[in-house]
Amino acid sequence: MMGFIPALLNPAMPFVRNALLAGILSSLLFGTLGAVVTVKRISGLAGAISHAVLGGIGMALFLSARGILPGLPPLVGALVFALLAAGIIGFVSLKARQREDSVINAVWAIGMSVGVLFIAKTPGYADPMSYLFGNILLVSTRDLVMLAVLDVIVVFLAWRYYPQIEASSFDEEFARVRGVPTDAVFMVTLAITAIAVVLLQTFVGIVMVIAMLTLPAGTAGFSAKNLASMMLGGSILSAVFSAGGLALSWTLDLPAGAVVVVLAGAAFLTVSAITALRSKRRSAGGSAV
């Protein structure tokens, strides 16, 4: 098989370049949004949204194949379900926190089950695995444009409202006393996460989006001095994992999304272990003095 670099430069194989571009563009989202998701500790919420998306995909496939809404793209169904899930979870988190866990799990499970049911009743063949685990080599130019637009929106919002995001993530009660609309910050974060999940699932799939939203930013968080450097570090690490994972998957003929996540996970666990060992040594040194 042709090597990764020759394939990247081969004019007859634009899907390889698209895949690399998608990896780099999604890195900005994984890094920036991932840092916010991590410090706000809402990865569970993002997980529920990403899994509920399958319900929308299944419904869109069913409605389209049955001729009820001919030509309805799965992306539209996914977007509707993602925003609906974000709205329900956000409302419960703000208004009935004691029920939060149950509702998150309900949205997670019902979303996936609805998707499986619709796909089962869709005429013809539809493979749920392709939506669960993604296929970066199927990324289209339209996907790239949408990713780039979302990158611009997310980076602009993170820059414009950085003090509000930082304050409401660090100490929500204090931020409210300073007049920061913390509920709005939370709901917008969830909505953007929902939209990003829909686009990013094309790259690494529904199951792995949540891993990429937490692992690169979490790894960067070990050495970051502040939230901005965590966003930047997360984006750089995500780009490295994406490009490296893509090259490795091409060379070893493995699924790209899974390889990217395994790389990101291995890096996170390694840095976690090193940090824990260093911390243990420091405290042992301190107690010996």
């Binding site: 950085y162 204090f174 409210r176 007049g179 970051a224 001095k225 502040n226």
Partner: protein
Amino acid sequence: MAATDSTRLRVAIRFDDVSFSYGDVTVLDSARFHIHEGEFAALVGPNGAGKTTVLKLLLGLASPSSGRVTIFGKPPRDQLRSIGYVPQHASYDPAFPISVLEVVRMGRLSGARRRFTADDDRAVQRALELAEVTDLATRPYSALSGGQRRRVLVARALAAEPRLLVLDEPTANMDAESEDRLFRTLGGIKGQATVLIVTHDTGFVTSLTDAVFCVGGRGTGRSVIKHEARPVDHDASELYGGHALQVLHDTELPDDACCHEEVHS
């Protein structure tokens, strides 16, 4: 304080027959008290008595079921810029990457404003000095001791240059040195700002205290009662940054006993 002086005092915090319930559970029942501008007040009460509710009401984080809360004559939500707040912040995330300077700068945050000005920088530096944490400015917040973190949160509240400083259990889990520094800081700002300390220690309060209010049982719900406090001279004094005052729970000072306050325009 002379009666003629007290008649000129303006009111910083006023609870006017304030009631508050969580569902069927009455937490406050017709609470009526006021704290003068420039006063150093303590709000005491055991855990679960309703201190947090009083705090939420005066910070505008909750609305009363009936009655009225005013801060400097206006609803709390209109006075947020005048309030410096030091929360307990007991559940902070030690993995959150942030420096002391960035935490203190949050005190200058206002609504959706993005930029910090030279005035903001000056206020932050002044707050760091007042709270005696200037030497910690570049350190990660997570690397500090519990007492140092609490002083940083005091600096964050002072960065707002508040007219009203509210501290929720400021000495909880604090080492003796940090506590001493904290009360030195509070002594320095006494008179320049109204200070309200909320604490579950119902027996003693710092000697800086001018007025003591107790959240306690009365009738079917709970209210806020003003008590007398007198100086004591024993070991407990060491824990309150100097001579402590003993709260006399068998006394009750009527809300209108002190003065005829000026009404804020």
